[in-house]
């Protein structure tokens, strides 16, 4: 419970522009997310959704503008970040230990993504959808305040999509923030949806 006694999570992206490889990927973009918000980011391929995710995660520097995040951040993007030779459980435990998550939290994350039966299987044997579920479980087990989900529905079957929606709903209900970049709308209520056009501006 002590985790939640910190100030409420919030995320402010203020008039941000990002230049990558001589190309303006994002421009004039602002987001204000408060505790409990799910923000759906959509837009055509290459419009800057993943760039926005990496920017909020602090992995990219802004060219102009400012990003301020209050609270810990977790990111699930196309990179699994789980060691291929380890079992699913051991690979998740590595990050859960880094984040100081207890065994219960880790088991709950496995359960929420229906990974109990795969817990003892090496990560390299997982299918596309199973890998996605493992990366979502890594976010769940991180107990971070702000979740950045980059195309989380890719490769997921409908049951897994529902599980993910359920997990995002539970996270926001307990005060968290979710940024989800996806082509399909989440089945749950989103606070805002942000459509990026091909110039990387909010349309």
């Amino acid at each position: 419970m002590s985790l939640r006694q910190a100030p409420l999570p919030s995320l402010n992206v203020d008039n941000v522009a990002v230049m990558r490889g001589n190309r303006m990927v994002l421009r004039g973009l602002s987001i204000a997310a408060r505790s409990g918000d799910i923000i759906w980011i959509r837009g055509a391929n290459g419009c800057g959704k993943s760039t926005l995710m990496r920017l909020v995660a602090g992995l990219l520097a802004v060219t102009s503008g400012a990003v301020h995040a209050e609270g810990r951040i977790a990111l699930a993007d196309e990179n699994l970040a789980l060691d291929a030779n380890m079992t699913v459980e051991a690979a998740l435990r590595f990050w859960a230990d880094m984040d100081g998550a207890s065994t219960n939290v880790r088991d709950a994350a496995l359960m929420d993504m229906d990974l109990q039966d795969l817990a003892n299987i090496p990560v390299r044997f997982l299918s596309t959808g199973q890998r996605k579920r493992a990366s979502i479980a890594r976010v769940l087990a991180s107990q971070a305040d702000i979740w950045l989900m980059d195309e989380p529905y890719n490769g997921l079957d409908s049951a897994s999509c529902a599980r993910l929606d359920q997990a995002m709903l539970a996270h926001t209900a307990s005060g968290g923030i979710v940024l989800v970049a996806a082509h399909q709308p989440p089945s749950i209520n989103v606070a805002h949806s942000l459509l990026l056009d091909t110039q990387g501006t909010a349309a």
């Binding site: 990558r20 990496r54 995660a57 602090g58 992995l59 990219l60 951040i73 977790a74 990111l75 993007d77 196309e78 990179n79 699994l80 970040a81 789980l82 060691d83 291929a84 030779n85 590595f94 990050w95 230990d97 880094m98 984040d99």
Partner: protein, 215 residues
């Protein structure tokens, strides 16, 4: 601190499971085995040149693990996840160097005992060789991580790694070979100083390379 130890332990585990542990040792011992075939069984000649050959083998063995040190972690997103959790790139590099000291330097040092026996080094020189390599191996661990970070993702990373390694390790080699005399004192001190400088600088160079490589 616990997280740092976990990251170092991960490095050692990856080396153990990924072949990074045995490859340098096998290479090193192969050189020690093959060298007497080239020179013939001249005991005096082997005793005079064997230590130097082991030094060269140790330097070249440094190159063997570099391809699996940084690139897989960058591609799989592990470096991103660490940066996201507030790890500085220098700290990540330091953990990787510490992992190399356990998974690369320590086995090589143990292999030196075998290698020196294979070549037939006199016992007095074996002690000097072990001490010299023990002083130099932290620098070599640092260099392997630094070169891995600099060349990760580039075409022909191994060849480039060789080009980078050779000039930086020349001082280590000169002082290291210089210790293999009757009076190793001065050379040993210079070797220690050079190694200390390289070891201390390598996390910063590797960290800067990791940062520059994040796109």
């Amino acid at each position: 601190m616990r997280a740092f130890v976990a990251l170092v332990a991960r490095e050692v585990r990856l080396a153990w499971t990924g072949g990074g542990l045995w490859l340098p040792v096998v290479f090193y011992l192969a050189v020690a085995t093959l060298f007497p075939f080239v020179t013939g069984p001249d005991k005096a000649l082997l005793a005079r040149t064997g230590g130097g050959i082991l030094w060269i083998a140790a330097l070249l063995a440094t190159l063997l693990p570099i391809e699996r040190l940084i690139l897989p972690d960058r591609q799989s997103g592990v470096l991103d996840q660490l940066a996201l959790r507030g790890w500085s790139d220098e700290l990540v590099a330091t953990a990787k160097i510490a992992g190399q000291m356990v998974a690369f330097a320590l086995p090589l040092l143990l292999a030196t005992i075998v290698g020196a026996a294979l070549i037939g080094l006199p016992e007095a020189q074996m002690g000097t060789l072990l001490l010299g390599l023990a002083l130099a191996l932290p620098a070599l661990s640092g260099l392997s991580v630094m070169i891995a970070a600099l060349t990760a993702g580039l075409n022909g990373a191994s060849a480039l790694g060789g080009l980078l390694l050779v000039p930086i390790t020349i001082p280590l080699l000169i002082f290291g070979a210089g210790t293999l005399t009757e009076d190793p004192g001065n050379a040993m001190q210079l070797l220690a100083a050079t190694s200390l400088a390289i070891t201390a600088l390598s996390p910063f160079a590797a960290g800067a390379a990791l940062r520059a490589g994040r796109i």
